[in-house]
């Protein structure tokens, strides 16, 4: 497992719609027993922006975040960080993060991560396609005042 792999699945899980994630987990065979290292908790993080979009950093404002850490009996530790106040979702993310470090990874990638990724990509391109329908060409008219 590379850092990039873990970065990838944690990012997909964090951005996945809660209902979608819960449905997919519900269709899995049972979750293994786990110990809660840090109970799901809600807090905030400061979102930063850049002056002029590309320059120095400034503080834009906070957003709510939930986080949770669990440990499987086999020793794998999973962490979850997700936007919003959502204890149920972040607990699932932490459990899946731990499970994705076990031999079940390939199966989980196929049944949970890849379908979620495909679905989010679809939603994104639908949004882009909708925006594309509002693309205009302005043309300037010659003013008849010479």
């Amino acid at each position: 497992m590379s850092i990039a792999d873990r970065q990838n699945w944690l990012s997909i899980l964090a951005k996945a719609p809660t209902q979608e994630l819960q449905d997919r987990v519900a269709s899995m065979d049972s979750l293994p027993p786990y110990k809660v290292l840090r109970a799901a908790e809600i807090g905030a993080v400061m979102v930063q922006g850049r002056m002029g979009g590309t320059g120095d950093v400034f503080n834009l404002g906070e957003m709510t975040v939930s986080r949770c850490s669990v440990e499987l009996q086999t020793g794998e530790i999973g962490h979850g960080y997700v936007q919003g106040r959502n204890r149920d979702k972040v607990r699932l993310v932490a459990i899946l993060d731990a499970l994705l470090q076990t031999h079940r990874r390939d199966h989980l990638m196929k049944t949970i991560i890849s379908p979620l990724q495909a679905q989010m990509a679809k939603a994104k391109s639908q949004r882009a396609a909708k925006a594309a329908t509002t693309k205009v060409d302005f043309f300037t008219l010659a003013r008849g005042e010479d």
Partner: protein, 363 residues
């Protein structure tokens, strides 16, 4: 001066009970749900998130419901709530260049690379009341046939930058100040000014921006680019030792291209103002860019012509509607002792001047 009073608990309880009854309104009408507010009053929700300085559409919707739609009261609720949250850290700076834009326009280049994308806009509507909405009509839905992939739109200012025509934004790597941690000290640097402006009252920032357009510190702004859309939020996770994406937020960004500066050593260049606001908030973000630009007079070697929009203290100390409303509204609370002393004083002064009281005149 405010001197504490006691009592009135029963009356206060009853007043609050009545307040809640007023919030509910006529029970023959269905109660509004927080979900309905979040989905159907999105621009109000956006304003509460921006000025409450906390991105959470569910909380902002709840605050709007609780406050009967008084947005400043809702912002107050959000500001109070955020103080109860533990701070888990900070995100990486959001990269608006990679924004998944639902709207992106340029008022400076007709043929802007990437095109003019109107998105869901009130622009070009006729501002006529639509009575079909009162009749609960269903709305039209945009049919999009081709599934195009989201393309990255180049920044207009980069385009100008290629010719060196516009001042560059430099990354010095300086750690930004944080208003929520340290009280604002003047003179403030641009990082604190931008943080203050983005959470400032929309009406106030709009008024300040408008004043520069009307001549109180004119800086000739063009909207180089206005973009609205989703940006991914990435955060370094201490437990992991690397960063992950934790979500996506909607923001509005405005870059203005303003009148140029130049000197004997530097050729003339356009200058820039910047606005970045949570949610879809165009008016606020354009206003912010204009005020940001006006406040940069010293750094750009311009004269301070003494107008309000150039006065950092005036702008930053009066833009926060929670501070303002707190101080303003406290004067309606009991000031009996305070006023009593004023009464005593005025009677004494009149007595010394031997002005007869009205009772004596009448007799």
């Amino acid at each position: 001066m405010y001197v504490a009073v006691k009592g009135g608990e029963k009356a206060i309880d009853n007043a609050h009970a009545w307040l809640s009854e007023k919030r509910r309104g006529d029970k023959a009408i269905a109660e509004i749900g927080v979900g309905q507010i979040r989905e159907q009053l999105t621009l109000a929700v956006n304003r509460v998130m921006a000025e409450g300085s906390l991105y959470d559409p569910d909380l902002a919707s709840l605050a709007i419901k609780q406050s009967h739609g008084d947005l400043i009261e809702a912002i107050f609720l959000i500001r109070a709530y955020r103080t109860t949250l533990a701070r888990f850290g900070k995100t990486r700076p959001i990269e608006t260049t990679n924004m998944a834009c639902i709207r992106r326009i340029s008022a400076t280049f007709k043929d802007a690379p990437g095109g003019q994308i109107l998105g869901p806009t009130f622009d070009y509507t006729h501002r006529l009341l639509d009575f079909t909405l009162a009749a609960d009509s269903e709305t039209s839905v945009v049919e999009s046939q081709d599934m195009s992939d989201a393309q990255m739109l180049p920044r207009i200012t980069d385009y100008l930058n290629q010719e060196g025509l516009i001042q560059q934004e430099i990354q010095t790597g300086d750690e930004p100040g944080d208003l929520t941690r340290e009280p604002l000290q003047l003179p403030a640097q641009r990082d604190l000014r931008l943080q203050s402006l983005t959470r400032g009252d929309e009406g106030f920032i709009l008024g300040m921006a408008y004043s520069t357009q009307r001549g109180y510190g004119r800086n000739h702004p063009f909207v180089g680019e206005l973009r609205v859309g989703g940006v991914v939020v990435e955060m370094e996770i201490p437990e992991l030792g690397f960063s992950i994406e934790i979500g996506e937020i909607e923001v509005t960004e405005c870059e203005t291209v303003n009148q140029f500066t130049g000197s004997k050593s530097d050729p003339p260049q356009f200058t820039r103002g910047y606005g970045l606001v949570f949610g879809h908030s165009e008016r606020k973000s354009i206003s912010m860019a204009l005020v940001d630009r006006a406040l940069r007079w010293a750094e750009l070697g311009e004269d301070n012509v003494g107008v309000p929009a150039q006065d950092e203290e005036f702008v930053l100390y009066h833009s926060d509607n929670i501070q303002a409303t707190g101080f303003l509204e406290h004067i309606k609370l009991p000031h009996y002792v305070d006023f009593q002393s004023e009464l005593e004083l005025i009677r004494k002064l009149r007595c010394e001047a031997e002005i007869p009281s009205r009772d004596e005149e009448e007799s």
